[in-house]
């Protein structure tokens, strides 16, 4: 009995450790309630480790090519920082007969909701800190280390939810 408990304790402790450090969960449901369901849990620490070592493995691939957009990175950074410091509010609302788009600043995140003509609903929560971390510098280098660090700050957050009739995709950090 003690032996069994000891054997079970190791994976359980490992599981508890991984869970306590956070998990990114990708949940895909196809074909309605009776369709396939795929759930992919990725330990946050694994994602962070992968991001941390990414530059050593693929430095060039992580560099954003300079197509002229890089000179505006400063503007994007300034805007994101100003939005982060601004009070909550509705930034954009587009209402058309077959499509609605809403962008709201809510706390430390931007919430984008789209309701499309086919009845699909897309909901994306962009944590502002993560968005700032994902911005490349003026040389086009993305700091994956900063991105990895920002992942830890978005725990217990729904990042993406897409609903298009019978299919449902949800990505959240637990």
């Amino acid at each position: 009995m003690v032996k069994l408990a000891a054997i079970l304790a190791v994976p359980l402790a490992l599981l508890a450790t991984v869970a306590s450090l956070g998990v990114v969960v990708v949940d895909v449901r196809e074909g309605g309630p009776d369709g396939h369901r795929i759930v992919v849990p990725v330990p946050l620490v694994l994602a962070q480790a992968a991001l941390a070592v990414a530059p050593a493995v693929a430095e060039e691939e992580l560099r954003v090519p300079d197509t002229g957009a890089l000179e505006h990175i400063g503007v994007a950074r300034g805007v994101l920082e100003a939005i982060a410091a601004a009070p909550d509010g509705e930034l954009v609302r587009v209402e058309q007969p077959d499509e609605q788009v809403l962008v709201v600043k809510e706390g430390d995140a931007l919430l984008v909701r789209v309701h499309g003509r086919e009845g699909e609903d897309v909901s994306v929560r962009v944590p502002l800190r993560m968005a700032l971390s994902a911005l490349p510098d003026r040389e086009g280098r993305v700091s994956t280390l900063a991105l990895a660090g920002s992942l830890g700050a978005v725990r217990f957050t729904d990042l993406v939810e897409v609903h298009d009739g019978e299919n449902h995709v949800r990505v959240w950090v637990w």
């Binding site: 920082e81 100003a82 601004a86 909550d88 509010g89 509705e90 954009v92």
Partner: protein, 187 residues
């Protein structure tokens, strides 16, 4: 049937979105832009805290020089110093009709009333452009002595300005730009 139910649910979700969708007073001035096209049943609302607009302007060195001024140069036909001189005269006049152009199908009027400069364009009753600019905003934009518009001073003035700035109605579409302290637009 199912799609219409989904559409209804989606619309309801949008309408029922967070509490922030309800206009709420903030301590920050917000610039609101509303574009409505009746024939397309389209409405676009943009609301930006003034601090975000300032961030855009401050981070755009190609447009704004390091001292926060837009350089007009001399190739626009009129020197800024001449504009300043004319404005100085106009600002001292007080309430008055400044410009009236009446053509067959278009009327343009510019006048000052109180602390605002009004511009109105009417085209055979079809199109109407109405611009209301606070006198203090123009004065701030023209502050200084260089051949450049003082954007920083204008933005500082906008922080205290409230109310409509631009309204355009051409029958099919309507554009309105205004400043208040609400974090969204009443629908």
């Amino acid at each position: 049937m199912r799609k219409s139910v989904l559409a209804a649910v989606g619309l309801a979700a949008l309408v029922a979105l967070p509490a922030v969708a309800t206009p709420a007073e903030t301590a920050t001035p917000w610039i609101h832009v509303r574009v409505e096209e009746a024939d397309k049943e389209s409405r676009v609302h943009v609301n930006l805290p003034l601090s975000v607009v300032e961030a855009v302007l401050e981070a755009t060195p190609e447009i704004i020089e390091s001292h926060g001024k837009v350089n007009l140069g001399k190739h626009h036909g009129i020197k800024l110093e001449d504009v300043r001189r004319i404005w100085k005269e106009l600002a001292a006049v007080g309430d008055a009709e400044l410009v009236t152009v009446e053509e067959k199908d278009e009327t343009v009027k510019v006048w000052r009333k109180g602390d605002r400069i009004h511009v109105r364009v009417e085209k055979a009753g079809k199109e109407e452009v109405r611009v209301e600019v606070p006198v203090s905003l123009v004065s701030a934009a023209l502050a200084g002595s260089e051949e450049a518009i003082n954007v920083k001073a204008a933005l500082a003035e906008l922080r205290t300005a409230r109310g409509d700035i631009v309204q355009v109605n051409d029958g099919d579409s309507a554009v309105r730009i205004w400043i208040d302290e609400q974090n969204s637009q009443a629908r």
